[in-house]
């Protein structure tokens, strides 16, 4: 099992969710986050006072999947979240040791 964590542009969420649902992904967690990468930040001006905003709002989505789904999920996120502009985000894939469904106590593949 792998945990796929993707940082995406907020307005891309619906497309990504639909694509993952179509692949059979049963659930995901979404968090509003702030950060920066190559896009850096931007400048805001209020009555002449300039403020550098270093951390831009993004969404972090987390999906736990079986090993055989990993490539398809990455492909789906990459194609749907991509605008071609700087700041499209990143995908991190990490090993997942164990998954437990709290209601039933099912574990691992049955819990996904």
């Amino acid at each position: 099992m792998k945990l796929i964590t993707a940082i995406i542009k907020p307005f891309k969420l619906d497309e990504v969710r639909e694509a993952l649902s179509a692949l059979g992904v049963q659930g995901m967690t979404v968090t509003e986050v702030k950060g920066y990468g190559r896009q850096k930040g931007h400048t805001e001006i209020y009555r002449g006072a300039e403020y550098a905003v270093s951390f831009l709002p993004k969404l972090k989505i987390e999906v736990a999947v079986k090993l055989e789904m990993v490539e398809a999920v990455i492909e789906a996120i990459t194609s749907k979240a991509k605008t071609g502009q700087i700041g499209d985000g990143k995908i991190f894939v990490t090993p997942l040791e164990q998954v437990v469904r709290i209601r039933t106590g099912e574990i691992d593949g049955d819990a996904l």
Partner: protein, 444 residues
């Protein structure tokens, strides 16, 4: 009674006549006639002007501060409204708007302590066609918003206790005398200075107090290094819009009657406000490359401020000129002058209200028109009627208000500072006023 259809800027002359009429009225056992149209409009205006402070000003300022201080900022407008209402009832109205006898040039009398003489049928010689209860409340709403405006300069760093003392003392010792000078029968009104609805009494006065206050408090912690961007400009846009709508009560209500002057004041107000908003937006668009909504609402408020003293005296073209100048001049003061000199007028109480009020007062002298308001401005203004002397009178008004207010504000703040201190501690300021001063925060 036609003479009483004049606006209150000529009240200096009216006060004496009013007293005569009052005594004559007693002799004939006929109470002054209440005009239902006037009364209905003044009841409405009073509600509109109160709405300018709560929630208008509260939201306008509240949206511009950081999230940790939004409730404290709202509390300032709301607290000021309440304390000033009570003080106005106890003594404020008496000092500002009743006859002071031998000292009438400087401040009014004390007979209206607790409004005791104000019976159900009472009228004021300053507004003889409406109940005095309505006139007292109408003027109260001006007395509320003027000190509340100062909060823009002291945002993010003043103790709430010090703020409430400041509002109280400033009302009695600065606002009430100046209101009396211009509107209550005092020396500036008698001299012939024109201030239709409070360019100097309200806006220059509050702006000057704001400037003195921010100089005495010092800069906010982190100014220039931390992000102090407004936390929610949606609130500010709602607040500014409520101010704009409420301002019809402020300016058109200052006719104190429901008549032609009220109508023209309303037209002038709308025109100048829109023009000033475009003017600020345009200046910003050229210089900073983008037209911001904060710029648009700031310009609108600058226009409202600048047209305030002129609203009942100028024609629509005059209003347009005042608006266009107000937007650009206040943009310059709030954006460039503040930065160049370095005082921390956090939300630009001086930059918009002080500068806009003084500009409006001088432009009133330039653009007032006898054709628009022969009763209120019998000699007219400089450009349309050739009355250059009016510019001098307006300058006296601006100068006297600035000097007295600056001096009075300084003394009051010094006293409060000695007794309880003005400013919150460094840690309280950094963590935020909401949680530390009021024990609550905005969630979500």
């Amino acid at each position: 009674m036609q003479i009483f259809k004049m606006n209150r800027a000529c009240i200096g002359a009216l006060a004496g006549i009013g007293a005569l009429v009052a005594s004559a009225g007693a002799a004939f056992a006929a109470a002054p006639k209440i005009d239902t149209g006037d009364t209905a409009w003044m009841l409405t205006s009073t509600a509109l002007v109160l709405m300018m402070t709560i929630p208008g000003l509260a939201l306008f300022y509240g949206g511009m501060v950081r999230k940790k201080n939004v409730l404290a900022t709202l509390a300032q407008s709301f607290g000021a409204t309440c304390i000033i209402t009570v003080l106005w009832m106890i003594i404020g109205y008496s000092i500002a708007f009743t006859d002071g006898g031998s000292h009438n040039a400087w401040y009014g009398g004390f007979k209206y302590f607790f409004l005791i003489p104000m019976g159900i049928n009472a009228t004021s010689s300053l507004a003889p066609t409406i109940p005095e209860s309505v006139y007292m409340c109408f003027q109260m709403t001006f007395a509320i918003i003027t000190p509340a405006l100062i909060a823009g300069a002291l945002a993010d760093r003043m103790k709430f206790s010090a703020f409430m003392w400041f509002m109280s003392l400033w009302l009695i010792f600065v606002y009430c005398p100046i209101a009396h000078w211009v509107w209550g029968g005092g020396w500036l009104g008698s001299l012939g200075a024109l201030d239709y609805a409070g360019g100097t009494v309200v806006h220059l006065n509050a702006g000057t107090a704001g400037l003195v206050t921010c100089l005495m408090l010092g800069k906010r912690v982190g100014l220039g290094t931390e992000n102090m961007a407004p936390h929610n400009l949606v609130l500010s846009v709602i607040g500014a819009s409520l101010l704009w709508v409420g301002w019809f009560g402020f300016n058109a209500g200052s006719a104190v009657t429901s008549n032609v002057n009220a109508g023209m004041a309303m037209a002038a107000t709308q025109i100048a406000t829109a023009a000033a908003s475009l003017s600020w937006m345009g200046a910003e668009w050229i210089i900073a490359k983008k037209p911001s909504i904060l710029g648009m609402i700031s310009g609108a408020v600058a226009g409202l401020v600048a047209i305030t003293p002129a609203s009942g005296f100028v024609n629509p073209t005059g209003a347009l000129i005042i608006g266009l100048l107000a937007g650009a001049v206040c943009y310059t003061s709030a954006v460039w002058v503040k930065k160049a000199i370095g005082y921390d007028d956090a939300l630009d109480a001086w930059g918009v209200h002080g500068v806009g009020g003084a500009l409006g007062a001088m432009l009133t002298g330039a653009l007032a028109s006898k054709a628009i308001n022969a009763g209120g401005a019998p000699n007219g203004g400089w450009l349309l009627d050739g009355n250059g002397h009016q510019m001098l009178l307006q300058f006296y008004d601006v100068g006297a208000t600035f000097v007295y207010c600056a001096f009075g504000t300084f003394i009051i703040l010094k006293l409060i500072d000695l007794v309880i201190g003005l400013r919150v501690s460094h840690d309280v300021e950094v963590e935020g006023l909401d949680i530390n001063l009021h024990g609550e925060t905005v969630h979500g």
